[in-house]
Amino acid sequence: MTTASSAEPTRRDFLFVATGAAAAVGGVVTLWPFISQMNPDASTIAAGAPIEVDLAPIASGQDIKVFWRGKPIYIMNRTKKQVDEARAVPVASLPDPATDQSRVKEGHDQWLVVIGICTHLGCIPIAHEGNYDGFFCPCHGSQYDSSGRIRQGPAPANLPVPPYQFVSDSKIQIG
């Protein structure tokens, strides 16, 4: 240790560096299981498998809330008025510009499927409330329109659309 200042690397220095490096590598690798265990376990992941939802019982102008991976998903059967309103607004004027068409599946334009978690701080917005015929978040007053896009309030982004597809005309699979 006292000779550490000598400029020439010696066998002893090499040994110390190798031992220190092995200890460091071993320590860091050992950390991995302790961190990895915090991730969702296998049963949680399995429980997050895709779900199927029957749309038949949802009348026009109504909505249902289903849960997928612990998240509330709003499925809204929009009226013609709601769709028209959503499509009439100039996209460029929106805080988070996106067309209504890009947020629904072609040919199923009346169906809006969004994750019902406010993009501000995670509260659940209330459907069919607010000034835009869409959603209103009671926590800090964010307002979403009938396409689930943010229109007013502190939330920075639109309600996200979860991955889903139509397996038949009246049935979707989420996930």
Binding site: M1, T2, R12, L15, F16, A18, T19, A22, A23, G26, P33, F34, S36, Q37, M38, N39, D41, A42, S43, T44, A46, A47, A49
Partner: protein, 687 residues
């Protein structure tokens, strides 16, 4: 020795803090500059090993608590889901469970070392007593931790140990009720044990701080037992003691890792893989190996109160050691008589441990009484007497002189031998306890045996077929989900095959929007459905006997291996008692019981079943299940395949465990080698 530090930081930030809170100076004087006797041997590294083990137990314990549910109806299952579903959960649980044994092993070495070298003598009495307190706290913590998995041994261990307090005159029963929080061991007991099991390690850590503080005031004892006088007697803690401890720790880790990766159930009891059942006591209640000597003392005294008193006294007497042994010479090296009696005492403790695992009958009881007497006589008669009559040999003038004299390491070698024997005896004795007169199941060749064993996929797939077509009529497999069939290290199905397999099952789900239960096809996330809706229905359909869930059957059954086999088992990583037993049961049916054996109506004769009378009729016969791969349709083949499948079901991550074990061993061996040479280089300066 820990006077005002002469530590002079140069970094301005460190300086700034140091002026306000001299913590760096404290660390420096305690763990860097601290003078440590230069003649310490490797028995002194167990202090560092114990600190590490406390850390390991706290870290893994805190993590396990994140996944564990302390509720009587789900505790057992939550432990299983840690092992099966949580990422590296099997590793963390093995670390924690064998870690407890390692912790106790290290503390026993540490205590015997203190005993041999007289580390409890003036001025280290308080240091020693703090150690005894730590040991007591460890025992309490270990006991409560063992209760948490809520298996049969957990439950009955908790019952027996808490009932010890009922021996207290007048208030005993009230104390026991208070401990239970009910009229028997139950959910409230589990809840409070969990709370205390989480608390006590931090109390231990606190007392350890006091222990180290006291150590740093009195200074370390050393093999010569003479106090350090001059600079020549000591070396600074860092790098000398640090590197030596580091080497000791890395060797200990190798030993620890052997248990984690290759022998996780060696020190455990198969009965603890059976969920707690308040209606059935296991045939032999055996505590964990580290309590066995005290358990033997308890049982050797035929009076309840006296037995309990003796058991506690056996621990408390340690606290009085500094006054019982008043000899001026510390180290037994220079005490010819004390040294011999020390080794006799070690043997007495080991034998007591062995007896603690034996059934309390016949010769064992008498031996237990003699050894209990010897145990107390050592402290109460022998040590006081020796300190008066013994003529010690001359001690060296100083530690430096001792180093020059180069005392032989004969004692070290004999200690290693005794400890190895002791360990083997303890481990094996726990198995010995299951005294069985039955024929021992023959040892089969299993593809999954040994450190490199893997599951035979073909056997697992055939075994699954046997389970599905035969066993599943009565036996549940409720810890296995269909998705597991596609897991790596499993039967080797694809996710699509597992989904299709699940789809063949009808799963009860609900309630639906109308509030009704309904049936739907199975999904990968579903678990194998049980054949009976509840325990009562299962019993009613099976002549009163409950067909056990098969998920853990290969780990929940065992048999005696006997001496000396269990010693070799440790090195050959033999852990296949369960599979051998299951295989043997399936093939052990005989139409006609041998002469002299009567089998009650509704039961069947089985050669390998304890008591021979089994309620399960012969489940398999040749040709019953046909295999697509051309394997013979024989009972022997069915038994082997279904056992392989069930072994996987009991331990789905076995292949990952062995694979990671190999990597860890390669690393640890290299690391220990590097530490050894580094230690030699560092110490080259000191001699």
């Amino acid at each position: 020795m820990s006077g005002p530090s002469d530590y002079q930081p140069t970094n301005p930030a460190v300086k700034w803090i140091e002026r306000r809170l001299p913590i760096f100076g404290l660390m420096h004087s305690s763990f860097v500059a601290y003078p440590t006797p230069r003649n310490l041997n490797y028995w002194w590294t167990f202090g560092a090993i114990l600190s590490m083990m406390l850390g390991v137990q706290i870290v893994t314990g805190v993590i396990l608590a994140m996944h564990y549910t302390p509720e009587a109806s789900v505790a057992f299952r939550s432990v299983e889901s840690i092992v099966r579903d949580v990422n590296y959960g099997w590793l963390l649980r093995n670390m924690h469970a064998s870690g407890a044994s390692m912790f106790f092993l290290a503390v026993y070495v540490h205590m015997f070392r203190g005993l041999y070298y007289g580390s409890y003598k003036e001025p280290r009495e308080v240091l020693w007593i703090l150690g005894v307190i730590i040991y007591l706290l460890m025992m309490a913590t270990g006991f409560m931790g063992y209760v948490l998995p809520w298996g049969q041994m957990s439950f009955w261990g908790a019952t027996v140990i808490t009932n010890l307090f009922s021996a207290v005159p007048y208030v005993g029963d009230s104390i026991v009720t208070l401990l239970w929080g009910g009229y028997s061991v139950g959910n409230p007991t589990l809840n409070r044990f969990f709370s205390l099991h989480y608390l006590l390690p931090f109390v231990i850590a606190g007392v350890v701080v006091l222990h180290v503080w006291a150590l740093h005031v009195a200074g370390q004892n050393n093999p010569a037992g003479v106090e350090a006088k001059t600079e020549k007697d000591t070396v600074p803690f860092t790098p000398y003691a640090t590197i030596k401890d580091g080497f000791g720790v890395s060797c200990f880790l190798l030993f620890f890792a052997w248990f984690i990766f290759y022998m996780p159930n060696y020190l455990g009891d198969a009965d603890n893989y059976i969920p707690a059942n308040p209606g059935v006591t296991p045939a032999h209640i055996v505590p964990e190996w580290y309590y066995l000597p005290f358990y033997a003392i308890l049982r050797s005294i035929p009076n309840k109160l006296a037995g309990v008193t003796a058991m506690f006294a056996a621990i408390i007497v340690l606290a009085f050691l500094p006054w019982l042994d008043s000899a001026r010479t510390r180290s037994s090296r220079y005490r010819p008589l004390a040294k011999q009696f020390f080794w006799i005492f070690v043997v007495v403790c080991v034998l007591l441990g062995y007896l603690g695992a034996q059934p309390p009958e016949g010769i064992y009881v008498i031996a237990g009484r003699i050894l209990t007497f010897c145990y107390f006589a050592y402290f109460l008669i022998l040590l006081p007497l020796l300190s008066r009559i013994e003529k010690p040999r001359p001690i060296p003038n100083s530690i430096a002189d001792d180093v020059l004299a180069k005392y032989g390491s004969k004692s070290a070698v004999s200690t290693v031998i005794v400890l190895a024997l002791a360990g083997a005896l303890f481990a094996g004795s726990a198995q010995n306890a299951r005294a069985e007169e039955e024929a021992t199941p023959p040892s089969q060749k299993w593809s999954f045996a040994g450190p490199f064993g893997t599951f035979d996929r073909g056997a697992m797939q055939r075994g699954l077929k046997v389970y599905k077509e035969v066993c599943s009529a009565c036996h549940a497999l409720s810890y296995i989900a269909f998705r597991n069939l596609a897991d790596p290290g499993g039967p080797g199905y694809t996710a699509a095959q597992a989904t299709a397999f699940a789809g063949e099952y009808k799963i009860k789900d609900g309630p639906n929007d109308q509030g009704e239960m309904f049936e739907r096809p199975g999904r990968p996330a579903d678990y194998f459905p049980s054949p009976f809706p509840n325990e009562q229905a299962a019993r009613a359909a099976n002549g009163g006997a409950l067909p056990p869930d098969l998920s853990l059957i290969t780990k929940a059954r065992s048999y005696e291996r006997g001496f000396p086999k269990f010693v070799f088992d440790f090195f050959s990583t033999f852990q296949e008692q369960g599979p051998n037993y299951v295989d043997a049961i399936l093939q052990g049916f005989e139409d006609k019981p041998p002469a002299g054996v009567t089998i009650p109506e509704g039961s069947y004769y089985n050669k390998y079943f304890p008591g021979h009378s089994i309620k399960m009729p012969k489940p398999l016969s040749d040709g019953q299940v046909t295999f697509d791969d051309g394997s013979p349709a024989t009972v022997a083949q069915y038994a082997k395949d279904v056992t392989t499948f069930l072994m996987w079901a009991a331990e789905p991550h076995m292949e990952a465990r062995k694979r990671l074990g190999l990597q860890v061993f390669v690393f640890l061996i290299i690391f220990a080698g590097l530490m050894y040479f580094t230690k030699k280089k560092v110490w080259a300066d000191a001699h």
